[in-house]
Amino acid sequence: MRRLFVFFLVAALWLAVPAIASSENLRLEIQSWSWQGMFGRYDKAQLRRGFQVYSEVCANCHGLRLVAYRNLEDLGFTEEEIKRIAAEKEVQDGPNEQGEMFTRFARPSDRFVSPYVNDQAARVANHGALPPDLSLMAKARAGGPDYLYSLLTGYEDPPSGVILTPGMNYNKVFPGHQIAMPQPLFEDMVTYDDSTSAALPQLAQDVTAFLNWTAEPELEGRHALGLKTLAFLVLLTGLLYALKRQIWSGVQHG
């Protein structure tokens, strides 16, 4: 048994070392997030602030095509509020009985309306760069939320000797340091309803939390079910071990 345990320890280290080593060279600003750990949960007020930042800033260029307006229920919005939020956008629907396409206001069942009709239109509006969809961004980059936070707060003047390609911006953590997106967040560019101060780190944390929710909306349910399941399993395995000891008690073995 003891050797088995040592084996698993070595195996775990072996698996973990590349992961740790690869996150090191990004030099991310590691934050402590409310949803981390086995008991981690989202802070609903923070998610709503993050949604506000997304809507007022990010949504001008970035879509959330995997998230539906109805999902905003998770953030504590009421059905009426969600209907109102959805109705701020228009979507194409149809064909109607006359065989024609028409536009209507978005409904809670619609996915978030993307800012551009297609990728080509997005490129034309952004000097050839394509603003990626943000639905899964918190899972699609090494470092996850820490990477997003570090990117949003990582804009600075290029060090002397670094010449940027025209239209590009210098960022500490972006691979290659040249990013097409100009610094998106500045202090006080959003006025929070709950009178939280809108300093840059606050804005970046809030929108990162929101984007982690869009990437992992199942997280709270997953953690809750996980705790129950593991508690049950530890108990069951303990009983199975006791039973094993009892059944084997009469056997002389090697």
């Binding site: 992961a19 699609a140 980059r141 199942e218 094993k244 073995h253 090697g254």
Partner: protein, 406 residues
Amino acid sequence: MSASVHSHRVVRWINDRLPIFTMVHHSAVEYPTPKNLNYWWNFGSLAGFILAVMILTGIFLAMNYTAHTSYAFESVERIMRDVNYGWLLRYLHMNGASMFFLIVYIHIFRGLYYGSYKSPREVLWWIGVLIFLTMMATAFMGYVLPWGQMSFWGATVITNLFSAVPWVGQDVVTWLWGGFSVDNPTLNRFFALHYLLPFMILFFVVVHVWALHTVKSNNPLGIDVRGSQDTIPFHPYYTIKDLYGIGLFLILYLFFVFFAPNFFGEPDNYIPANPMVTPPHIVPEWYFLPFYAILRAVPDKLFGVVLMFSAIFILFILPWLDRSIVRSAHFRPIYKQLFWIFLLDCLVLGWIGAKPPEGAYLMIGRVATIYYFVHFLILTPLVGIFEKPRSLPESICTPVVKAAKL
């Protein structure tokens, strides 16, 4: 086996016409098992358990998955977001693949340490290697299905290996793809095969167990069973021990599923496949890394591919490479050291497989690759001839009886 064991009338009626209850009783209840098996012998039943989990979760995932390049990524996200407990199904399946390989690797190394591949268990070992190969094909094709960046580029790199075949290479690749690049026909056939192969694995597992129950289990001492004093019935002794093992395993497995579901995954696979953008590092899943390292250790493509496949196929002839008649490394002082060095070598290869093939990494990878084959082709046969094994106990129960006398 008399029918009298089955007291119920209906059971007896069926059993007289199809002795299925006798068969189950024979192989899952009274199967005489060496009494000295340690916990490393739990991994066979664990592998069977996780295979069942994979097939079950896979069937329900397939009900919600769309095998089309335009919809595959979205349909997986729909499973994650809108299907009831779809995230659980998908994370069970995703992490289950890693767990399956972890278990099977331990199972294989168990066999290597205790000489479970030696006479009379050669065919049992062959079927095991066949299961391992089928698993690798299944896992590779399954990884392509979510149609993320790593799915697409992994599929491109691995299918391109076949272009190294002399003369017909490019034609073979076109035939595999069903076109001139990895595209919708590729995704469709991979889905079909990914659904088919697990049932072939299941078939091989049945044959594996059949062969096992014919030649009976090996044991940590590696000596033959002398009589009934060396064995105990499978039930209840090993059923309860296996259940306890499954409990421990589930704690580890479900910890990852619930609290670190993407630990074994690549972030890039949450980016939809894009044939126009190549990721900076194309890395396979961790369980392929040692073989990936062997492939990249060789500058010549064809030789690299041949070497990579040889690394697995060499296991088929291992029973004849090992000249020692002593099975368990417990009684083989030199082979025991070589076993641990070989395990370390495989871990080094895995580490190198995750690194870019340049500079020191490339050199370490080459040395580790050479050692991998030296171990099987030179050291194993030589040690079998020159090593002086420690004296074997007379029977499985002898050491126990001696210990009891003291």
